[in-house]
């Protein structure tokens, strides 16, 4: 390890003052935890943010309104290092150098008995990697109105929401917005073509939707996404260029859920239909038509001191380009994670992204992590590429990446 990844030593030393700072205030937790007064494990499986427990899902679905109003302010920062097997000399992020990656400020919490918000503004150093120079921009945002009609015989949660990333409103971690590679800066799925549902409109669109969750069994949602401009530019402004889509583009989500004993499962379907202008500088140009159909599932086992979360998601995308040609993109992602005592954990992820143009990226990412304090996590990932057609190196395995991170939130 010493020879392979010497920057780790420095990073651990760099992380120590942060850990001590956090440790000096044992009650220092992000704003949702302050609002409920609960430990992170109440909402996050094994404390493994962002993966939600059934209670965490209910907290989100009821509009982040459980608890009592407190200062709705939190911060998060990530320090990381990437070491690519054969690094690109021009790319400072691949050499294993310690890097301040991102820092975020969250305005998140209960606004009224019905309204709550999760809004994140992120500062990152792209493209000035390795420096503290960067830019701030809106990150994930989800603002909700929710109500719950519940009695001895029935339970109906329903609500309205505004968000800026298709899927970020979901409470399951099989959707791309919350799936694998959610640690800021982690390697991800390489250079394969991803469906538009997989981050293609993240922080570029504004969606207004309605949802209902009936008897903790059936979840249904429909959201319409528009270009995040005009009044909605507050959700997208500063993200380095705007993606323009035509009109209102429907996102439909259905999920069946079941809990028994320490187990819970979900089976879901997603449909997303997007028309994106073929010429982004001409809003009268014909559109490229994306139709994404996804099927996903999640299994979770929660019984102290253990948690297991396993997800699998398949997205099939048909694209009809304005130019007359077409493409098909297939994405398969799976992830299984395990935690013990909400301190020690391991994850194994698989990804496969392919399209009919022959671009493909396939591989595995094992990870181990340690959560010494409930709001600090240290992790080590290694991504093994079996295929990475459009990657920096023609030989996929040369893109294999070791990734270390310290992720803290306050």
């Amino acid at each position: 390890m010493r020879l392979l990844f010497p920057p780790l030593r420095g990073l651990l030393l760099a992380a120590l003052p942060v850990a001590l700072l956090v440790a000096s205030n044992a009650h220092a937790v992000p704003s949702f935890a302050r609002q409920t007064g609960q430990n992170c494990v109440a909402c996050h499986a094994g404390g493994q943010f962002p993966e939600l427990t059934p209670y965490g899902r209910m907290f989100k679905l009821t509009g982040y309104t459980i608890g009592q109003r407190t200062l709705p302010l939190s911060v998060m920062a990530v320090v990381n290092a990437n070491k690519v097997k054969v690094d690109d000399p021009a790319d400072k992020t691949t050499t294993g150098a310690l890097t301040f990656a991102t820092a975020s400020v969250f305005l998140a919490g209960k606004i009224s008995d019905n309204i709550g918000a999760f809004t994140q503004v992120t500062f990152d150093t792209t493209p000035n990697i390795g420096t503290f120079s960067g830019r701030s921009h809106p990150d994930n945002m989800d603002i909700r109105y929710a109500d719950r009609l519940i009695d001895d015989n029935s339970d109906l949660i329903y609500g309205l929401m505004l968000n800026n990333n298709p899927g970020v409103q979901d409470v399951f971690h099989s959707v791309p917005a919350w799936g694998p590679a959610t640690v800021p800066g982690s390697t991800g799925a390489g250079a394969g073509a991803a469906p538009i549902l997989d981050g293609g409109l993240g922080q570029q669109a504004a969606g207004i939707g309605a949802y209902a969750y009936w008897n903790r069994t059936l979840y249904a949602e429909i959201t319409g996404y528009k270009t995040g401009d005009g009044v909605f530019s507050i959700l997208t402004h500063g993200n380095g260029g705007q993606t323009y889509i035509k009109g209102t583009n429907p996102y439909v989500r259905l999920a069946l859920t079941k809990e028994w004993g320490p187990h819970n499962v979900m089976l879901g379907l997603t449909h997303f239909d997007v028309r994106q202008y073929s010429d982004q500088t001409d809003l009268t140009s014909p559109t490229d038509h994306y139709r994404d159909n996804g099927i996903d599932a999640q299994y979770q086992y929660l019984l102290d001191p253990y948690t297991v979360t396993a997800t699998v998601a398949r997205i099939h995308e048909n694209i009809d380009y304005a130019a007359g040609n077409s493409d098909t993109v297939n994405s398969l992602r799976a992830k299984a994670s395990f935690t013990y005592q909400a301190k020690y954990g391991a994850t194994l992820s698989y990804f496969s992204l392919t399209n009919t143009l022959g671009e493909e990226s396939k591989g595995w990412t094992p990870e181990v992590f340690w959560t010494p304090l409930q709001n600090v996590r240290l992790g080590l990932q290694y991504t093994l590429f079996n295929k990475d057609q459009a990657g920096a190196n023609p030989n996929a395995r040369d893109n294999n990446t070791l990734f270390f991170y310290v992720w803290g939130a306050y």
């Binding site: 935890a33 409920t36 007064g37 609960q38 430990n39 494990v41 109440a42 059934p54 209670y55 209910m58 907290f59 009821t62 309104t65 459980i66 608890g67 009592q68 109003r69 209960k110 606004i111 009224s112 008995d113 019905n114 309204i115 603002i143 109105y145 109500d147 719950r148 009609l149 519940i150 009695d151 001895d152 339970d155 009044v231 530019s233 507050i234 402004h237 809990e259 028994w260 004993g261 320490p262 929660l302 019984l303 102290d304």
Partner: protein, 216 residues
């Protein structure tokens, strides 16, 4: 940008004012006007079930629980006197601003719910039979008194002695270990003495018996 912010703020304020829930459907844990029953349905039910029969054994069943025991535990949580992880991780925060009236209403609500045991078979398994023996007879060789002395012949509890019938086996095992190995539940100091010499087998057996036991 300023106009955008003002517009959004006004929209949000109008929305909030026009669509605000009444106290009958509030999830506000710091509003004394919200009834205990409302909080039971809107908040507690997420983990403990609408009728107090929780699904996940991480969370104890509250159905049919003794009112006095329930109130005492909520005060232990609120006063940060109960230190076991299940207590402070979840319940310190939930209880911190509840009024005595709300706690009393919560206790009434859950005490009136019907308990559903985990798996009530017609005949006892070998493990359940062994647990029944400990529950009813104790372990004389190690001076362990019968559990039924305080918790009642049917394990329905009595005042500040909790109902154990129909409780999740995993929860009973964990709490007996808390009593036996730690000082994290000072209000249950009497249980530290009683649980001291229980073997892990005794604990597993009695938990199996109680989780499947239903009161008549």
């Amino acid at each position: 940008m300023k106009t955008v912010s003002i517009t959004l703020a006004l929209l949000l304020a109008a929305f909030g004012a026009g669509c605000s829930t009444t106290a009958e459907r509030s999830r506000n844990l710091a509003d004394p006007s919200v009834s205990g029953k409302t909080l039971a349905l809107q908040v507690c039910s997420n983990c403990h079930g609408v009728d107090g029969n929780s699904v996940n054994p991480n969370f104890p069943k509250l159905s049919g629980q003794q009112k006095e025991y329930f109130v005492a535990q909520m005060k232990e949580f609120k006063g940060h006197d109960r230190l076991d992880p299940e207590g402070f991780e979840y319940m310190w925060g939930i209880s911190r601003s509840l009024t005595e009236k709300q706690i009393d209403e919560l206790a009434s609500y859950f005490s009136q719910q019907k308990n559903n045991p985990d798996q009530a078979g017609d005949t006892l398994t070998q493990r359940e039979s062994a647990g029944k023996f400990v529950f009813e007879q104790g372990v004389a060789a190690r001076n362990i008194p019968p559990c039924s002395t305080c918790h009642g012949a049917e394990a329905a509890g009595n005042g500040t002695f909790p109902r154990l019938a129909g409780q999740h086996a995993d929860y009973i095992v964990k709490q007996l270990n808390v009593f036996q190995r730690t000082d994290e539940r000072p209000e249950g100091a009497i249980m530290k003495v009683i649980a001291h010499d229980l073997t892990s087998g005794n604990i597993e057996n009695v938990a199996a018996y109680l989780s499947s036991h239903t009161t008549k």
